[in-house]
Amino acid sequence: MEHNVTFLGYIPLLPLIGAAVLGFFHIGTCNRKPLNEKFYGLVACIGPLLAFVLALRVFLTLKGMPEEARYLSQKAFTWFQVGDLDITMGFLADPLSSLMLVFVTLIGSLIHIYSIGYMEGDKNIGKFFAYLNLFLGSMLILVLGDNPVVMFVGWEGVGLCSYLLISYYSEGTDNVLAGNKAFIVNRIGDLGFVLGMAFLFWAIGAGGFDYFSLKANAHSLTPGIALAVCLLLFVGATGKSAQIPLYVWLPDAMAGPTPVSALIHAATMVTAGVYMVARFSFLYAHVPVAGEIVAWVGIITALVAAIFGMFQDDIKKVLAYSTVSQLGYMFAGVGVAAYSAGIFHVFTHAFFKALLFLGAGAVIYAMHHEQNIWKMGGLKNKMPKTYITMVIGALALAGCPPFAGFFSKDEILYSALATGHVGIWAVGVLVAGMTAYYTFRMIFVVFHGEPRDQEAYDHCHEAPAVMTVPLIILAVGALLAGFLNLPAIFGGHQQVTHWLAPSLVEHHPHASLFVEILAIGASVAAFVIGIRIAYKRFAVGAEEPVFSGFSKFAYHKFYVDELYDGIFVQPYKKIGNAIRKTIEPSVTDAPVTLVSKLYMVIGTAFKVFQVGYVRVYAIYMIVGLSLMSLLLSQSLN
């Protein structure tokens, strides 16, 4: 089979060209005569759709290859090469990246279409679509890169787009601050990524820095270095995928337009960390300790975020914390070396979370940009399509069989249990219950009960078709995606796991049937309990609660933002100000000022001699000459 192809590069290039074209037209016209919105929408959708077609082609080509040699690669050009370091601008499509490709381009395209409706009437729509296309291009570079450095290009690129889109409504200071926060926090993670790459390079990079070479040389890593590399890369992942301690930017990122939240902050970009860990599975598989840490960080994040999610009153914040929580699951999955399970959850999560965000977007759109769930209520009559699709999404998120989320989440929990991580499994089940609770709390409050704001309720209407059609497609995905990886116990063949196998270094645990049933039973029970509590509390006539005690603490997100502000941000600013006001003028500049002062003092002292009479100067000269004469007379003897 021919493994070297030339069309891989076009996949990221198409959206990037789209971004360039859109940006060019937007900048050229925005202050004169803006172009038609339809034009922008149309141009914006071409790139992603073509990329989707190419992604399918990649997928099908791979499918036609023998399982053990399923990859396509393209070495575009030598990017930079210094000494042993040889970085190629190369692309690699293997089962793992092809799976990511397909769903990223699919969901990306759907969200582009949805945005045509959602962003209607925005005067910067050209800019919006340019950013969105740029994001998609970067994401595809991230997925397709055949070495960590190319991946890093996409990695930072999506971070940049995230910043640009969060601060899209840039007239609001808070929005821009949220964007800054996202970029800076991501950069902290990126530092970990860069350092990890550096360690990796000095350890085994001399033999080539693409994934194949790294995988081949991974065995020669010392345990210490391997652990360091794994943990540093994971720091990168926590930044991008919003895990503890760097999760703080994601809830704030909801300041951006809702399609952005769906595409970037739920479906694609935030899963990059999971993808990266899976990509480096050959490293993590060697270092169980690193996996252990990843899994625990993931599950604790899942727990904490679920707690926060239970008390939010902004519809997007609820979904944001649920995203953080689900990402925690994914890390728990890849942490216990169930990489395919983690990736599968990424896959299903992309569908139902995008669906939920777009549904929330439709609600917000209908409620004229009202995001507080306590101002909504009873919307199911007004927006039936949105309601149904969102319920499907919610069921998938909550892990109701047979929706997508059930299978993927169950796979993770089962793997945790089967590999003996009972603690992680137990927390996971607890979080599953909480997920069901807060998801349906949101659904009940928003769509059931009585309208809380009658005027807004009266004006609200179903979203246009350009928005609901993507919702329906995604709902179908959320409903059916789980069956792609149907485990054997339900009579399936785990196609996704088998598909991914060549890309991952994974050992499938073999556990007894009892364990499998226990895992499934616990998940279903948690779901039922969670949804039941939510129904009791919120299905009819729930009022906005007043928080106290622990719930107040949780409502304020354990004051983590304030803590970070107090520990990092304020001292940083204070140091900067202290340097500007005190240290710079009076410490570092001190030697200079001292020297000039010294000259001043000496000069003033010598001023006494400057009487101004020429005669006196002559006297000085003669006195000097005289003294010299005295001295020289000594030497004459």
Partner: protein
Amino acid sequence: MIQSYLTVSILLFCIGIVGVISRRNVFTVFMSIELMLNAANLAFVTFSRLHETMDGHVLALIVMAVAAAEAALALAVVILLHKHKGQLDTNVFSLLKG
């Protein structure tokens, strides 16, 4: 013999220095400088005699020419100063005071 002439030269030169540094009258100061130049000339001529070459004479000539030039300029300056201040005291001119 040579030492005697040189001693005279030194003596005149020292008297010239004393004149420059002790007197305040511009003319006296100026003439004291001329005296020093003459003392130097005498030394030149003496050395010329010692070595029996005439380069010292040439130098003395040149010194005289310079002295003439200096006299012309210096007197011009003196006239100017007198016009401005009406005085001949060197202490009046203290623009160099720091």
